[in-house]
């Protein structure tokens, strides 16, 4: 975002960055208060971390001062010391102060006392090394000591150090004077807590938060949406946090994930609203639905729907069938997702749509493979018929690869089986494996794999086999063929058709002749005894 030259783009990016930062701020606070549910003691430490992490405008100032040759002479020196103190970064503050002390030996005494106070300040610790009561006691003593030094006028000659002492004592006015450094009321809140109520309990936060915001804004400006969200968090009103975020953000991403997290921590249910888990699902469904309108992000939406136990599946079913199947790749992607989830109807539908598209564009092979995938027997039959029709008209097959490699899917429909077997016949013929081809051809008719409409073509295909020099069809096979031919011509009620159509009549005649000749030859051959 910083590197973009285009100002409009830059503006857009910095907006995005600030939205993201705001989300991070809210999210981290929710983690501290809701998920981790930090108890009194660690709570303050967490909040200090939070402030240090997120309110970091001062970093550049700090760098400037520390990087300068003579930090203690830098005009922003005391600002940096102050901010360290305000953020409870005692060691860093003390380190800087020591530089000032070395530069100004006259203030050595003051410095030593202040340094000591800062070093001794009791703070909550992680781990159970001290109880809250112990801490409070120690803190009380320390507080009184600071008070004594202040009242004795120890720091009277150095307003900076005096102000620091006042801050240590939790003097609200003194802290508020540093408004510009803290920049936000929630920073002010945490500083206040550090120096007046370090053992603050979670449930007490709301009071301090409200008064901090009031004091900080001082009636000059009114709170903004982000303020309201954070306030709701400090008040432990989780639903309010979600609600305010929903209003102010333009999409469900943040809210859906936050609600999901809270739901997983079983926090929404405990807040006496029975629809806690429904709200989580509701928001996730909204978010995921939004993803589906994007040409590639929809795939993420799938995973989100998977995690919605009640309505996820049906939402997915409804959304995924609307994904435009613009390329075969996309269709395959959609299919894989549906197949993984046993969405059989959607699988069938997608395949049907693709098959239909292919068929309209006369890509029969593609149409056939989609039908097979859809296990759509009726459509496979239809397309096989088209193939066969094409063959009859043009004398050759298209998409041979596909038909040759049908494998078991050939069994999807009778017509498809026939198509596959018929192609096999042609292959065998091409490889000059005539006896096998002949047997197959016959089986196609006798086993009724071939539709009656195709028998004529098959018989015509038998012609070249009958007229080979070598005898291919046995006597029995020849009888079968003849029977088929008679079945075909006799079974045809409209004998006129055969009579009128010269081509048909000629074909029948030729067949009868060829069959008779073959029969003659084969009877002789089979009747001949070997060797005699």
């Amino acid at each position: 975002s910083v590197s973009t030259q285009d100002p409009a783009l830059h503006g857009q990016y910095s907006t995005q960055v600030s939205i993201l930062s705001a989300m991070e701020l809210i999210w981290n606070l929710c983690e501290i208060l809701f998920v981790e549910a930090a108890a009194a003691g660690p709570l303050l430490l967490r909040l200090l971390d939070w402030v240090r992490l997120h309110v970091c405008d001062v970093d550049s100032m700090v760098r400037e001062v520390l990087g300068s040759e003579n930090p203690s002479k830098h005009k922003l020196f005391w600002n940096v010391v102050d901010i360290f103190v305000l953020q409870g970064r005692m060691d860093e503050a003390r380190h800087l102060l020591s530089k000032e002390a070395t530069a100004n030996p006259t203030s050595m005494n003051m410095y030593k006392i202040l340094d000591d106070l800062m070093k001794k300040m009791p703070v909550p610790t992680l781990g159970n090394t001290q109880t809250l009561t112990e801490l409070e006691l120690k803190w009380q003593h320390w507080h009184e000591e600071c008070q004594r030094y202040l009242q004795d006028g120890t720091f009277a000659s150095n307003p900076h150090m005096e102000s620091i002492c006042k801050i240590l004592l939790g003097d609200e006015d003194a802290i508020l004077e540093k408004k510009e450094l803290m920049t936000t009321w929630y920073h002010f809140l945490v500083t206040r807590l550090l120096y007046s109520h370090p053992t603050v309990k979670p449930m007490e936060l709301r009071f301090y938060a409200q008064s901090s915001m009031d004091l900080f804004l001082g009636g000059e400006s009114s709170p903004e949406p982000l303020d309201m969200i954070l306030m709701a968090a400090f008040e432990f009103e989780m639903h309010q946090v979600i609600k305010e975020c929903s209003i102010v953000l333009s999409n469900w991403w943040f809210v859906a994930h936050l609600t999901d997290l809270l739901d997983h921590c079983k926090l929404l249910q405990s807040h006496n609203l029975y629809f806690g888990s429904n709200m989580r699902e509701f928001l996730l469904l909204e978010y995921a639905s939004g993803l589906f309108s994007h040409h590639s992000l929809w795939q993420l939406g799938v995973d989100y729907f998977d995690h919605c136990p009640e309505y996820g599946r049906v939402y997915l079913e409804l959304h995924i069938e609307r994904i435009p199947l613009s390329t075969e790749q996309k269709a395959l992607k959609v299919l894989r997702i549906c197949e993984q989830r046993q969405m059989h109807e959607q699988v069938r539908s997608v395949c049907k749509i693709m098959a239909m598209k292919a068929l309209r564009n006369n890509r029969l092979g593609s149409a056939l493979s989609w039908s097979i995938r859809a296990k759509d027997a009726a459509f496979a039959t239809l397309i096989s018929d088209r193939f066969l029709k094409d063959y009859c008209e043009r004398g050759c097959f298209s998409d041979l690869d596909l038909i040759d490699n049908l494998g078991p899917s050939m069994l999807l429909s009778d017509r498809l089986t026939f198509l596959g077997k018929y192609r096999e016949f042609h292959r065998l013929y091409g490889e000059k494996r005539f006896p096998e081809a002949a047997r197959l051809l016959l089986t196609l008719m006798t086993a009724h794999i071939a539709p009656c409409s195709f028998w004529m073509t098959l018989l015509t295909d038998a012609l070249p086999l009958l007229e080979q020099k070598e005898i291919i069809f046995s006597a029995e096979q020849t009888y079968e063929l003849m029977r088929c031919l008679e079945d075909l011509t006799a079974g045809n009620p409209d004998k006129q058709k055969f009579q009128e159509d010269d081509v048909e009549t000629t074909k029948v005649e030729m067949l009868r002749l060829a069959l008779a000749r073959n029969l003659a030859r084969v009877i002789v051959k089979e009747g001949t005894v070997e060797g005699s």
């Binding site: 907006t15 995005q16 600030s18 939205i19 930062s21 705001a22 701020l25 997120h54 309110v55 405008d57 920049t183 936000t184 009114s222 709170p223 903004e224 949406p225 982000l226 303020d227 309201m228 306030m231 009103e237 639903h239 309010q240 979600i242 609600k243 929903s246 209003i247 102010v248 953000l249 333009s250 999409n251 469900w252 609203l273 629809f275 709200m279 509701f282 909204e286 978010y287 639905s289 939004g290 993803l291 589906f292 309108s293 994007h294 992000l297 309505y311 939402y315 409804l318 959304h319 609307r322 994904i323 435009p324 539908s349 749509i353 239909m356 598209k357 309209r360 564009n361 006369n362 239809l382």
Partner: protein, 419 residues
């Protein structure tokens, strides 16, 4: 927030209907200029007219797409008393290069003696079937038994509704628990208190459609009607466009409790009624999941309606016919200011009105044609919260007393809007 795009439709007269295909990539418009135009969406999101042809000898009232499982098929209906079915023919490569396609008429349905006011394909699980309704109050249901032969359609049912019909809607539910169902709306203008919405249901025993219900509370002319997609609910949801927007639920009563053999009766509730258009509502249309309803009205606006997870319906968006947002932009000031001083990195630009803030590219929802066609047919919208609307769009009905530091009077939400 919406991005509106204007398309010069080039119809020579009023546009009466706009219809998206199943995937939202194609659009059909029909007009009083007696023609239908088909538009295709290109990769970069622009709409191009790929076909334009004369379809009828009178104003074309409605146009609708069949499910893509049946191919590229359209149906249209007209003042000329006919309905027609059209199929796209994959053209010569020249045409493809020029970006044109051809549509041929597969059949004309001429049974009606008066203007045919609506035509709708049935849900795909019922096969290739469509219904028409006419100004003389007859609903006709046709079927094409062979889906590969679109020229053969047979009239399966004729339903006499007694009132002039203006619109029909098939119940999209494919659940076996529900028999085929069709809702019919009437725009009969004569002063009477007859129910203007009737529901007909198919009876497996008699193999006929019979009247299952009449919505007695709808007595004003009805302009559009739409069943919502079913998410596995046991009950149905029906939206009605009349002098206002109404949403009804219909819960089938258990068969044992009904009198006439085999027909289910319904428990009817009105779950929402909105008169925000302040004028006649002309169209209603559901999104994919049946969770958002769009309505368009004589006020030139399109409104979106959504139920929160406690089932309260509220308005979540308003779009003017010319694409400009309504009301929302004036509230920018409240949310725009940065927090604290200028050098804070936590600039709060959580501004709901700026169009540049999207995480996702905005959905283009073009509204084609004249104001008569501000027909909002929905693709899945990105879920949006609209401050421009006087409603709680946040879907969280938490009755929390507002603190004094509130920046926007959210407690003035009309919680009782609708029902």
């Amino acid at each position: 927030m919406f991005v509106a795009r204007s398309i010069a439709a080039d119809h020579r007269d009023l546009i009466h209907d706009v219809s998206f295909d199943f995937h939202g990539r194609r659009m059909a418009t029909c007009s009083s200029d007696q023609s239908v135009k088909v538009w295709d969406k290109s990769e970069n999101g622009d709409w191009h007219c790929t076909a334009s042809w004369k379809t009828h000898s009178g104003s074309v009232w409605r146009v609708t797409w069949a499910h893509p499982e049946f191919g590229q098929v359209l149906a249209s209906c007209s003042f000329d008393r006919t309905a027609a079915v059209w199929e796209e023919i994959v053209g010569e490569s020249n045409d493809k290069l020029r970006g044109q396609s051809h549509w041929v008429k597969r059949t004309t349905l001429v049974d009606s003696r008066t203007s045919v006011t609506d035509v709708k394909f049935a849900p795909k699980h019922m096969g290739l079937m469509l219904a028409t309704c006419s100004a003389d109050g007859v609903v006709r249901i046709y079927e094409a038994p062979d889906v590969m032969n679109l020229s053969q359609w047979s009239l399966q049912h004729e339903i006499s509704c007694k009132l002039s019909c203006s619109c029909i809607s098939w119940n999209p539910s494919s659940s076996r628990a529900h028999s085929p169902m069709i809702a019919v709306g009437s725009d009969d203008n004569s002063p009477n208190i007859l129910a203007k919405v009737q529901i007909y249901e198919y009876n497996e025993n008699t193999r006929k459609y019979a009247k299952a219900e009449a919505l007695m509370t709808v007595t004003d002319p009805v302009h559009d009607i739409a069943f919502a997609p079913n998410l596995g609910r046991s009950f149905h949801i029906l939206a009605v466009a009349t002098k206002d927007v109404r949403i009804f639920t219909l819960k089938p009563l258990r068969k044992e409790l009904t009198s006439s053999g085999g027909l289910t009766k319904f428990e009817i509730h009105i779950v929402a009624q909105f008169d925000n258009h302040n004028s006649q509502v002309w169209r209603v249309s559901w999104n994919i999941t049946g969770t958002v309803l769009a309505s368009s009205g004589d006020d030139g606006c399109v409104r979106l309606w959504k139920a929160n997870y406690m089932d309260n319906w509220k308005c979540t968006g308003i779009l003017k016919g010319n694409g400009s947002p309504v009301n929302g932009s004036s509230q920018q000031g409240i949310f725009n200011a940065s927090l604290g001083s200028a050098n804070t990195s936590l600039q709060n630009s959580l501004n709901g009105s700026s169009a540049s803030r999207y995480f996702f590219p905005p959905l283009d929802s073009p509204r084609a044609g004249s104001r008569w066609s501000s027909h909002a047919q929905l693709l899945p919208p990105p879920p949006l919260i609209e401050q421009s609307c006087d409603a709680d769009a946040a879907n969280l009905q938490y009755p929390h007393p507002r603190r004094r530091c509130v920046s926007r009077p959210l407690n003035l939400l009309p919680e009782n809007e609708g029902v």
